[in-house]
Amino acid sequence: MDMKRDYYEDVRLFGSKVVLFWFLVLIAFLGFFPFLFRNYYVYLANYMAINVLVAIGLNLLVGYTGQISLGHAGFFAIGAYGTITLMTSAHLPFLVALVLAAIGAALLGFLLGLPALRLEGPYLSIATLGFGLTITQVIGRIGFFGGRQGLHAPELTIFSWHLDSDRDFYYLLITITVILTLVARNLVKTKVGRAFIAIRDADIAAETLGVNIMLYKTLAFAVSAFYTGLAGGLYAFVLRFIEPQIFSLLMSIIFLAMVVVGGLGSLFGSIAGACLLSWLDLELRNILSIPYLGGWLEALSKSYFSITGVSNIQLIIYGSIMVSIMLFEPLGIYGIWIRTKLYWKTWPF
């Protein structure tokens, strides 16, 4: 086992040359990805990248700071609607609108963090849940935001670069995702991240040791909301069309599921969990066309279940994954990874 000898070794961005090497390989792979795969996979990668952003943001709050949130679809909606309306009504350029909308989400996150200072457990979950539902309902009823009809995303141009295909958008998205992942990685390794973890593990002890709970709890909410809002703004351009019904409670639950499946308190886990669940989401949308299994499911549905409700198998699969992860591997994919690594490190013993 390698031992860390000083503080700077612990906070280094890349633990060793090997890690740096694999990181560069990953970046190169991501760079060539659109040339290697067909369009559907590029779309899938875009979808994954957005969910990775949300999962990282949510993990900073849930996994690192220990505050539950069932309302992240609300921040996501603010990001999406904020970006589009700032672009169409205020004629701001895309990147400015995106960042402003995300900052707006972060401000709301800060506001939500204020009552969260005094709440925990069920009280916090109902407050965040209520927040998410309220945001969706309010947006759905305001004509300025398109009401129930929804909004169309405008044309996307950055300086003179016209992004009109999934492929172009992919590069923008991957750049943002990689940068923000590195930011999150730095955040959790430094003072702020340690304060988050201290609050999660024992908030009273942290306070007696001089951690400013009020500052760091609200900061956790704000940072988390910023990530989610930014992802929401980008999501609006993946879908090209947004309506309030998308940002439902189910969406918040699925965000939470990504974090939990990946592993609480692990950035690698968030990435893995988000990728797995986004892939499952897109694959299971047309479940009947899956080879072998699809035909069998169709026959099963026709004789014992209803064929109109067949898409609900997705819910059953998600639910089973969530329950079994919690029962058998509470650390999620990250836990499995740690165990595998340990097994091979100490192999034949």
Partner: protein, 291 residues
């Protein structure tokens, strides 16, 4: 004046079904400190099976309803025994995730089996009959829900306070280890708790089904019931019922006099406001963590 009273009465009528769901959630939370997000869907499964028994096999009501309640009881036992008890490191978040997972499984199963289209459930009382008290109208189903909610609240309150089993439940909640040492089989107590809670939830579901019957029907009552329970302090049975009435009345007043559009958003807004002032709800003593 008559209009105002009518609004208040309808608010209380709506609140009654929230109250039943709230009661069901409080029972579980009181004993095991688990927030059961699967409450609504456990009831949903029982209700849809009752529907199947009534419509496909043409059993009479006096067979269908008791068997639905019995099924709900067994479902509660089963879920606690097979899933909740197996959790490795139970903490609040983990338990929430497990119950949300269960919720998705049950919801997926019911919507796969029965499809999303609305159905009509036969019921001894029609939801369109109404009783009139002077110039105020209440549908007989709403009156029944109101009576059932109050009765169940009283029965459960007395049961938890005076019966041996109820005291054992309280002991389990307060200190599991000590309860175990005193000879209480805490695992069995938890199982019974889930059974009773599922039973109460199923009652709520059966009373909601005649007016609306589709796979999403329990979402709103469950969330409002949860909100009501939190408003009442999450550990107090009367608190959750009064919380539910408060939510029902405020919703209806807001819908009637301010804006019908934001009617269901207002409930959650009140919750956040109340929690800012009293973080442990209205009827619970404030819980102070000792270090």
């Amino acid at each position: 004046m008559g209009e105002l009273v009518q609004t208040l009465v309808s608010g209380i009528a709506v609140g009654s079904s929230y109250a039943l769901m709230g009661l069901a959630m409080v029972i579980i939370y009181k004993t095991s400190e688990v927030i059961n997000f699967a409450q609504g869907e456990m009831a949903l499964l029982s209700v849809f099976l009752t529907y199947m028994v009534l419509e496909y096999y043409h059993f009479p009501f006096y067979v269908a309803f008791p068997s639905a309640l019995a099924f709900a009881l067994l479902l509660g036992f089963f879920l606690e025994f097979a899933v909740l008890r197996r959790a490795k490191e139970p903490n609040v978040l983990g338990m929430i995730i497990i119950t949300i997972g269960l919720e998705m499984i049950l919801m997926g199963f019911v919507s796969w089996k029965f499809g999303a289209e609305p159905k009509t459930m036969r019921f001894p009382l029609s939801p369109y009959d109404s009783l009139s008290l002077g110039e105020i109208f209440v549908s007989s189903l709403e009156a029944l829900t109101f009576v059932v909610a109050l009765t169940l609240m009283t029965v459960l309150f007395l049961f938890l306070r005076y019966s041996k089993l109820g005291i054992a439940m309280k002991a389990t909640q307060q200190n599991k280890m000590a309860a175990r040492l005193m000879g209480i089989r805490t695992n069995r107590i938890l199982m019974i708790t889930w059974g009773i809670s599922s039973l109460v939830g199923c009652t709520a579901g059966l009373l909601i089904a005649p007016t609306i019957m589709q796979p999403y029907m329990m979402w709103d009552p469950m969330l409002k019931g949860f909100a009501a329970a939190v408003l009442g302090g999450m550990t107090s049975l009367p608190g959750s019922v009064f919380g539910a009435y408060i939510i029902g009345v405020v919703e209806n007043l807001f819908g009637g006099y301010v804006s019908i559009e934001f009617k269901s958003a207002v409930a959650f807004f009140i919750i956040v406001l109340v929690l800012c002032i009293k973080p442990s709800g209205l009827f619970a003593r404030h819980y102070v963590k000792k270090v």
